[in-house]
């Protein structure tokens, strides 16, 4: 299985959360060609999910697959680091 499995934990409709959702959607569209599962979890609606995963910071992006499981915390604003964290750096076109 080669599909990416991602979970993004956000807090309601606050600015940082909304922005993170947009950024992540863009990255997935550009980089993953539909080869991914993305689940967006609002901790206000699903506090139990936050508990299960031990979420502290918001936003938190968890790459469940491929292994190793990796956590990215923060607003995903630093694109190069997000790509590195997701293991997508090599796919970045040379500018």
């Amino acid at each position: 299985m080669s599909k990416y499995a991602l979970q993004l934990y956000i807090n309601g409709k606050n600015n940082v959360s909304v922005e993170a959702v947009d950024i992540l959607n863009t990255i997935c569209r550009e980089k993953l060609n539909g080869e991914y599962y993305l689940e967006i979890i609002d901790i206000q609606e699903h506090p139990d999910r936050a508990e299960e995963e031990g979420i502290m910071a918001i936003p938190t992006l968890i790459r469940k697959w491929p292994l190793p499981v990796t956590r990215l915390i923060g607003a995903l604003t630093v694109r190069s680091r997000v790509l590195a964290g997701l293991g997508l750096s090599s796919l970045e076109p040379v500018a």
Binding site: N11, V16, A50, G54, R71, L72, V82
Partner: protein, 483 residues
Amino acid sequence: MSIRKLVTGITAFDHISAGGLPYGRTTLISGSSGCGKTLFGAQFLAMGIQLFGQAGVFVTFEEQVEDIRINLRTLNWDIDAWERDGKWVFVDASQKDDDTLTVGDYDLSGFQVRLERAITKCQAKRVVLDSIGSVFSQFQELNSIRHELFKVTLALGRLDTTSIITTERTEEYGKVSRLGVEEFLTDNVIILRNVLSEEKRRRTIEILKFRGSSHEKGENLFTIHPEQAIVIIPLSAMDLKYRSSGVRVTSGVAKLDEMCGGGFYRDSIILVSGSIGAGKTLLVANFIDGIREKDERCLLLAFEESREQLFRNATGWGQDFTKLEDDGYLKVVCLYPEVASLEDHLLNIQEIVREFKPDRIAIDSLSALSRTSTDKAFREFIIALTSFLKHQEITGMFTVTTTLLSGGTSDTEGNISPLTDTIILLRYVEMSGEMHRSLSVLKMRGSKHDSSIRGFTIDDKGINIGEPFTGVSGILTGIPARG
């Protein structure tokens, strides 16, 4: 005016804090590693459940939940049942072993949502966050984390919980906390210390500040008891307001009663001082024998002699300790002073007293106990012990050993004599080339007493107090002279 407090249920803490922790607020507990802060937090929750039926939330930033459970089970706290019944809820905020990368701004609302969910779910009244220092190592941005934690403390107050935040400090006397930012979270700060002093561990608790509320100042000793967890020995908080009894009890020696103006007061502490072999243990044996007059019970704590030795000596003076013990009038406990710290000895003695409910207690000898600690700690021990005994209206006889055979005082004596009500001196006197034994009542609080120095002899019936020495002076200095 004092602010509202939440009674914690931790032994003596409510006493030194004048009623417990500030209600609806957060208190910071700071201490070096191994000082007992996690235990204090856990005990705060456990007592809430056991004594008041108040649920609690335990947030761990550092230790694994399962490790904490294991530790708590050793204290006979039924953590599993409490968790099952929703009385105790863990929030695991410890660091995950996944790789973590920071990619932009964040807040800790994830944590806050989980904490609020846990509190609402079990309707918690008490919350513990252990320990906050780890949050700063998990998340690097000091200022924003401080702000986030401040929001957490606001939420804790809003949800009507009384909470404890623990934090690390690197030295016993110095900055309140490692990073120096934690104490800005709250107005209430408690310090736990664990100091090595003259080869002995000395644990103390100090309430540094409780904004807008009174509390005891300074350090109070505490010990970690295998079943009761943290037990504070509140020396500074001891009040001297015990009832003073006018009832007299016999010393077991008619003549000595006479010298004391009719016997010892029931709630008094009698100090018997003398060198080795001066007859201290004999007076103790008589004191024990005195229980027969009113069918009282006596507890004998022996720190010097073995049971066999004691019983044999008593037989030599015509007393049957074995029978007294069989009949339930006497309980003899022999201990090596070195087996425990003074704090533990104190707890142990209190436990035995509560169980056996004696009318009298004899300790032979205090000097043996004083060997194991510093002067200060020993004095504190005696204050705590005498106060405890007086509250229970128990008559106490303590012996101390002087180092010189004739004359002289002991360090122990100098330390504690102000705390006792009656002092009896047993001294050897050399006169005309012979050793005589002498006995005198040096002090008898609240009563007239015979101030003469009397000779006494010991035979197979016990002690025979004779007439006062006349025409001799300087007996107590050990160098008597015919005057």
